[in-house]
């Protein structure tokens, strides 16, 4: 048998060798000033950093929003091990961990920051007061709901959430009607699905990483070096408002580098305070699909029914207040992070301009207001120390909108809360002059729907939607049975057995890459040009992994 038949690559090598003998002319070899290659630090850590930077630049160079999301997910077929930061589940003392994971400096004031001073809402508040009062008394105490009639046994947290969501929809409608001219260009989403994923560094490595480092001679000094963790935010607001233009920033981007804006360090594994993990694809969904022109969030309302559960378990008022701050920070950061992904930024490529959003956490009676400015998304371990920017959250303490309801009348209505809310609505987005809002997206193709090729467009769309759905794979990751762990892995008692299982064949399913899969088979009938040659890739569908 010839060498070419035995080894396919040999023929390719031979082909590439054809031109090797071409003589380059002497003049081309010399330039007037010597061109030296850059001098690189060849230490293992610097090499690793360069390798990482290269992969981050590859993500930056990807053209469209959808492809960027697929690119982020390329390393893992079965998803990343992710720490779940859920909106409505908060353990004890979770604020420092959340601040660390979002790198947020928290400013707590009695009222809103000076940013809102320019808005005079006294007249508007007086005008809307009676309508809001009526909405409150009707929604909270005015009529029987479906669960009252069916005698459904709902928990008190669910009851509160039902009331607060219908109330907020009503209050939003009242304000939108009044400000219809100002809010013409605003989209309202009711209970949108919001998810965000990002990498966080500065956390002590898990024991498996420590053990593996112990075995490598050049890693021995760096056993305790922090590692990246994937954080996932999942939440469902009552209602969100978004627009085509961004809100103006509260402080300029350069001020976010001020080292006085301290952020607590929480370097323990988040599981030590009750966070759970899941294997998931990195999803970033701000409540709409790419291509919607209203990409910038203005305002979101969030429920706080879960506070009842906390009261039963911890019964600590001070920590309850912190839990609400945690929710304000996390929901604002999560939403902005998902928006930032649609603008072409991600956890490896930093924002070029700040993003601002406003958050309200309420149960109808108690209200908390948050203004969040996101200055950086780059929280991964590679830049964790070198990145000086911090995100900032301006928070108010909890305020009661009214004291009580008696005979359908509100007692002790607090105008200040309504004024704060109206100020959030009056804060209108502005056209940012001279800023490219999507610097890391291509100028020609920002979305996969901009591609000419029908097949490519459909393939990318399908893959994107599949990843974002986070449905389990058709073939689940294999299970190591308990008897295998005991008799095959921990104690080698069955060495005569045939080695058939992945752990005996040096296969690691969780390290499988997204594209390590057979493309879809096209039956002969549907092939465009059936070649006579047997074999070859034409039998399978073309893939477009970025």
């Amino acid at each position: 048998m010839s060498v070419i038949r035995l080894n396919n690559r040999f023929y390719q090598k031979l082909r590439s060798c054809r031109y090797s003998s071409t003589v380059t002319r002497l003049e081309e070899e010399y330039t007037s000033t010597p061109n030296y290659p850059p001098i690189l630090d060849l230490s293992p850590e610097k090499k690793r950093e360069r390798m990482k930077d290269e992969s981050y630049d590859q993500i930056k160079a990807v053209k469209t929003v959808e492809e960027k999301q697929i690119k982020l997910n390329m390393p893992k077929y079965y998803g990343f091990k992710s720490y779940m930061l859920l909106e409505n589940k908060c353990g004890y003392n979770m604020l420092p961990m959340t601040q660390h994971a979002t790198r947020t400096h928290l400013v707590v004031n009695k009222g809103l920051p000076d940013y809102y001073k320019e808005f005079n809402v006294d007249e508007l508040a007086n005008k809307l007061k009676s309508e809001v009062e009526e909405a409150l008394s009707i929604e909270i105490d005015g009529y029987q709901r479906l669960h009252d009639l069916t005698n459904e046994a709902l928990e008190k947290e669910d009851l509160e959430d039902i009331v607060s969501s219908s109330l907020i929809k009503r209050i939003n409608r009242i304000i939108m009607n009044e400000l219809s001219l100002d809010l013409q260009d605003t989209q309202v989403d009711i209970e949108p699905r919001i998810e965000a994923s990002w990498n966080v560094g500065g956390i002590v490595p898990p024991s498996s990483v420590v053990n593996s480092r112990k075995g490598v001679p050049w890693l021995k000094d760096r056993i305790d070096e922090p590692t990246d963790r994937v954080m996932v935010y999942k939440g469902v607001p009552i209602l969100t408002l978004r627009s085509k233009l961004p809100l103006k920033s509260v402080i300029p981007l350069s001020e976010s580098e001020n080292p006085d804006l301290d952020v607590p360090v929480f370097d323990c594994d988040p599981r030590t305070i009750g966070t759970t993990t899941e294997y998931r694809h990195m999803t970033n969904i701000p409540g709409f699909w790419p291509g919607d022109p209203h990409t910038f969030g203005l305002l979101s309302y969030h429920k706080r029914g879960y506070m009842h559960l906390r009261k039963d378990r911890y019964n600590d008022l001070n920590d309850d207040q912190e839990a609400i701050h945690r929710q304000g920070i996390l929901t604002a950061f999560g939403w902005l992070m998902a928006q930032a992904h649609y603008l072409g930024f991600n956890t490896f490529n930093d924002l070029t301009y700040p993003l601002v959003t406003q958050t309200v956490v309420t149960n109808g009676k108690t209200w908390s207001f948050y203004t969040y400015q996101m200055n950086t998304t780059m929280l991964c371990e590679r830049f964790f120390k070198s990145n000086p920017r911090r995100n900032i959250c301006w928070a108010t303490d909890q305020m009661d909108l009214f004291e009580d309801i008696a005979d359908g009348k509100l007692i002790g209505f607090n105008d200040e809360v309504l004024k704060n809310l109206l100020k959030f609505y009056l804060n209108r987005p502005e056209s940012p002059l001279g800023i490219n809002l999507t610097p890391y997206l291509s100028n020609e193709e920002k979305l996969c729907s901009d591609y000419e090729d029908d097949h490519k467009r459909k393939w990318l769309e399908d893959m994107f939607k599949f990843l974002m759905s986070n449905r389990p794979r058709h073939k689940l990751v294999y299970e190591i049975y308990a008897w295998e762990k005991i008799y095959k892995i921990d104690n080698k008692t069955r060495f005569m057995d045939k080695r058939l299982r992945p752990f005996e064949l040096f296969q690691h399913p969780y390290q499988r890459r997204l594209d390590e899969t057979c493309p879809r088979y096209i039956p002969k009938k549907f092939r465009e040009d059936v070649k006579r040659v047997k074999g070859g890739s034409y039998r399978f569908e073309k893939t477009y992994y970025p």
Binding site: Y92, T272, I273, D316
Partner: protein, 153 residues
């Protein structure tokens, strides 16, 4: 629930003023770094989260905000003579969260003073050096079997 039952009172019996369940808790050094207000215990398998909380609050007057437990399966090993697999008993670990601001550091029970530590370190160093020089000597002479040590170039 404790396996020891509170004796049911029969009329005429002497009344017990003290009831001792067979519960125990042992403070252990955490393997994974914990926040300063989280303490790890191993405890009796029968104890529930409520039992742990009551145990610490009623007996030791330690306020605990939250208790999380897990059951740890120890590693299995082979019996040296007959080669069958042995597993030790499972252990229940409790992670107790203290109120914010409280700190707990696991005590260094066998604390050595600095001079003793230095002495030990010196001894170890000397032992290591002599071992190294002996290894070197062996390495040098491994291809010169049956030659006297002084025979060298």
């Amino acid at each position: 629930m404790s396996t020891r039952w509170y004796p049911i009172y029969q009329k005429g019996n002497p009344q017990l003023r003290v009831f001792l369940p067979n519960f125990w808790m042992k403070l252990v050094r955490p393997v994974i770094k914990q926040p300063p207000n989280v303490v790890q215990f191993s405890c009796s398998m029968e104890m529930t989260k409520h039992d742990i909380k009551n145990y610490l609050e009623k007996i030791y007057n330690v306020k605990c905000v939250d208790v999380r437990t897990r059951i740890h399966m120890p590693k299995t090993r082979l019996e040296p003579t007959f080669g069958y697999v042995i597993k030790d008993d499972d252990v229940k670990y409790a992670y107790v969260t203290l109120p914010k601001g409280e700190e707990f550091q696991f005590p260094d029970l066998f604390e050595l003073d600095q001079t003793k530590k230095d002495e030990e370190a010196n001894q170890e160093k000397a032992l290591k050096q002599s071992q190294e020089s002996y290894d070197k000597f062996l390495e040098k002479n491994k291809e010169r079997e049956n030659m006297p040590g002084w025979f060298s170039v």
